[in-house]
Assembly symmetry: C2
Homo-oligomer: 345 residues x 2
Amino acid sequence: MAVIKKATIRDVAAKAGVALGTVSRVLNDHPSVTPQARRAVREAIEALGYERDAVAGSLRNARTRMVACAIRDFDIPAFASYVKAAEAVFREAGYTLLLASTSNEKDVELSLLRSFAQRRVEGVMMTMSDEADVELAQGIASASMPIVLIDREMMTNVDRVMADHEDGADQATSHLLALGHRRIGMIVGDPAAYPSRSRIAGYRRTHDRHGVQVEERLIRNHVLSNEVAFRETTTLLSGDNRPTALFVAAVDMLPGTLRAIRAAQMVPGRDIGIVAGSDSDLAELGSPPISALSWDRGEMGRHAAEMLIERIRDKKPRPARCVRLPVALIVRDSAGRSNADQALK
Amino acid sequence: MAVIKKATIRDVAAKAGVALGTVSRVLNDHPSVTPQARRAVREAIEALGYERDAVAGSLRNARTRMVACAIRDFDIPAFASYVKAAEAVFREAGYTLLLASTSNEKDVELSLLRSFAQRRVEGVMMTMSDEADVELAQGIASASMPIVLIDREMMTNVDRVMADHEDGADQATSHLLALGHRRIGMIVGDPAAYPSRSRIAGYRRTHDRHGVQVEERLIRNHVLSNEVAFRETTTLLSGDNRPTALFVAAVDMLPGTLRAIRAAQMVPGRDIGIVAGSDSDLAELGSPPISALSWDRGEMGRHAAEMLIERIRDKKPRPARCVRLPVALIVRDSAGRSNADQALK
C-alpha cells in the first residue's frame, strides 16, 4: 500500500510555480496577489488535497477567517432572511459565519463581543439592545474587529445598514387614516432601538400632519414576543373606545396579534383593520390577505456582509458608512374602513 | 493613571487558592474537578476579569469549545426552532455554536466537515443530503469529532435524533381516508433522506391497510422549496382526476402549496382537503385553520445538543444512541370531505 504523504504549503508553491509567500498571501486572502497567481494556487491546493490546520495557521497569521453575527432570536423568520443572504456573501469570500443569539440582552451582547475577540473573529454583524447605553456603545466602539450594525442609527462612527422604518410607519398610518380610522392601535417593540423608535416617530408624525390627536394608551411598546403581542392586543380590544385598526409594527408579531383577534371572536379586515409592520407568508396568505410593510432583507444582509468584508480587507481608517433601504407598503385587503364618519382633513 | 495589568492564569490560581492545573482543568471543562474548586475558579476569573486568548489557549489544549450545526437552509422556520433550543444548551455548557447552511448539497456537506475539522470544532450536529451516499457516509464515519445526525436513520454507528415521520404520515393519511378521500396528493421532499422516505412509506402503508390503490402520479417528491411546492401543486390541481385532498408532507412547504391553491381559485377545506406535514403559525392561523403534524422541535434540538456534549466530554467508545420523538396530528378544520361516495372499507 502506498504511503500517502500529507501535502505541505511547500508542495503547493512548487506545483503552482509561485513563491511560498504567494501561497501564504492567497491563503490569507491578501489583496496583493494577481488573479493568475491566485488561480494557480487554488488549483494546486485542489489537486494536492492540501489542508491547512486552521487553528495553527490562524495563530501565526492572526487570521481565523471567521466572522460572527449576533441576532436577537434564531426563530424570528425576518432575521433568518438577512442572515441567509449575508452567509452566502461570506461563504463566497471564504469566511465562515459564527452565529449567536442575544435574547436582546445587553449582558449577552457584551459577553459575546468578548468571546468573539477571544476567538479572533475578524468582523461582527450585530444589533444593540439599547442604543443609548454607554457601556454597550463603548464595547462596540472599542472592539478589536470591525462591526456593522443592523438597523441601528445612533452610533454614527460605525458602519450601519438600516431600513427607513419611519417612512414605512408613515405609509401604514396614512393608509389607515385615509380609510377613516381615527383610533389606530400600535403594537411595537422596544423604543430603545432604532426600528421601534422610528416607527413610533412615523406614527406620531403622520397623526400630527393630519391633525389627528394620538391617544397614548393605543401605543403598546416593548412587544418582543408573540405572547406579549397576544396580551397587548387583548388589552387593546377589551376596553371601551377600542381601536378600529391595528398597526402591528413589531417585526414578526403578527401571529400573536391574530391569535388575540381570533380569541376576541373578531375577523381581521371586517371587525378590525390591520396592517402588518413586516411582510410574511402569514400576511400574504391570510384570509383576508393582510397589508404589510416590506423591505429587502436579503439586500440588507448582503450590504452588511459586503461592508464588513471591505473593512476586514482594507484596514485604513475610513469614515463610517450608512446604507438606508426603502420600505414599501403592500396594500392587500385587511385595513378595513372605519365606521366613524370622520373624513380625512 | 494606574497601570492596569492583565490578569494571568497564575493570578486566578492564587486568588482561588487552587493549583495551576486545577484552573486549567476548569478552563478546559475537564470532569475531574470538584464543584467547589470549579466555583472558586469561576469566581476568581470573574473578580480579576481574566480573559484568555481562546485561539492560543485552544492550540495548546486542542480545545476550541466550538461546536457546529449544519442545516439545509437558514430561513426554514422549523429548523430555526431546533437550532435555537440546541444553542441554549450549548451556551449553558460553555460552547459557542458555529452555524452553516448546506443547501442540501453533498459537496457543501463534505467541505463543511473538512472546514470544521480544520477549525478544530469539537462536535457537529448535521443532516445528510443523501443517506445512501458512500462518500458522505465515509466522511461522517471518519470525522475527527463526534457527530449527531438530525432526522437521519441509516448511519446506525452515529448518534441520531429523529421524529417518527412514518407514523405521522400514517396519521395524516388515515385522517384523510376516513373523511372519504381516495385521491390524496402528496407534496414531499427528497426520498434520499429519512423524513421524506419514511413519510412516503407511511402514506403507502396506510393506503395498503385500507385497500386503497396508490396512484403514483399523486406523489410529488423532491420538493425542497416553496417555488417547487407551488409548481407541483399547480400540476396536481390542473389535470383530470385531480386529488380531492393534499398532504403537504414537506417541512414548511405550506406557503407554496397555498399560493397554488389560491391561484387555482380554490379554497382550502372547501374545494380541496389539506393536511400540513409540519405545524406553523400559517397552519394555525389560516382560514380555515389547517390540520397539521407536530413534534417537539425544541426537544429535538435539546436532545441533540446534550448527546453531543456527552460525546465530547466522555471520549470512551460507547454504542451509538438513537432518540425517536413521537409525531401527533393536530386536527383543525381543513381536511374537507370528499365528494366521492366511497366509504372506508
